[in-house]
Symmetry: C2
Subunit: 153 residues, 2 copies
Amino acid sequence: MHLTQFSDYGLRLVLYLACHPERVISVDEVSRAYGISRHHLVKVVQVLTDLGVVEAQRGRGGGMRLAKRPSEINVGWLIRQTEPHMNLVECFDPETNTCPIAPACGLKGALVRAQQAFLGVLDQYTLEDFRPHREQLVRLLEESLRRASGAGA
Amino acid sequence: MHLTQFSDYGLRLVLYLACHPERVISVDEVSRAYGISRHHLVKVVQVLTDLGVVEAQRGRGGGMRLAKRPSEINVGWLIRQTEPHMNLVECFDPETNTCPIAPACGLKGALVRAQQAFLGVLDQYTLEDFRPHREQLVRLLEESLRRASGAGA
């Protein structure tokens, strides 16, 4: 049971931006701070830009920032957008399901309720809820950037 | 967000056996009824046998049956056993985590609570809860077996 790396990186990205509201941030910086692939991160930025969560500022001194207030970015909503699908098991997608007992199977109902409970918890959080630890987060990210620079030097 | 095919097949297998308490069942029969790989199913049977959920009866007329009463087989417990891991995102495993903000990140806490809610719902179910639809399930499985035999003839 796991979320995709895409969702993981999406969450890390928006948290980074929420922790640095005072300036625009480059993809390179986020990539180095987390030690994650710039290539994968670019794709995440594209999707989050299309979703209206991130806005890009092009050109010299360009970068990105959140396009909404942290309190307007809901975690449950974000994960529903970044996961490729929410089909917990095959029968969740009637278009492709091959399981013959789907019409009478109570297991699907139990799994649907479990998934609703999962998303219901995440629906209670926005990015604003994680900002109380902002100073500590920024410090950890800066330390990580320094280590990355040291390693690259 | 999805469970592995292994868990999916595990659930299908135990439900099949719970629907047919009166006789031993062959892997072939379950494979044909659901239209799923016999090869994959054999691995599922091995793990569920090791877990003490399924018991095999070898030899002529052999097959398998549940090793416990349906009311003793909890769905949340079963999924915890059949999923290769419950690491929703990278930081769930401190051994392999590379994310530098883990010590201060509230997102992990939110994801842990969401996963607990997910499993908490499934912990409320045992296989016994799905037996009220047994007749209908058996009919659907028998129809599927007939179709499979027809296609193979």
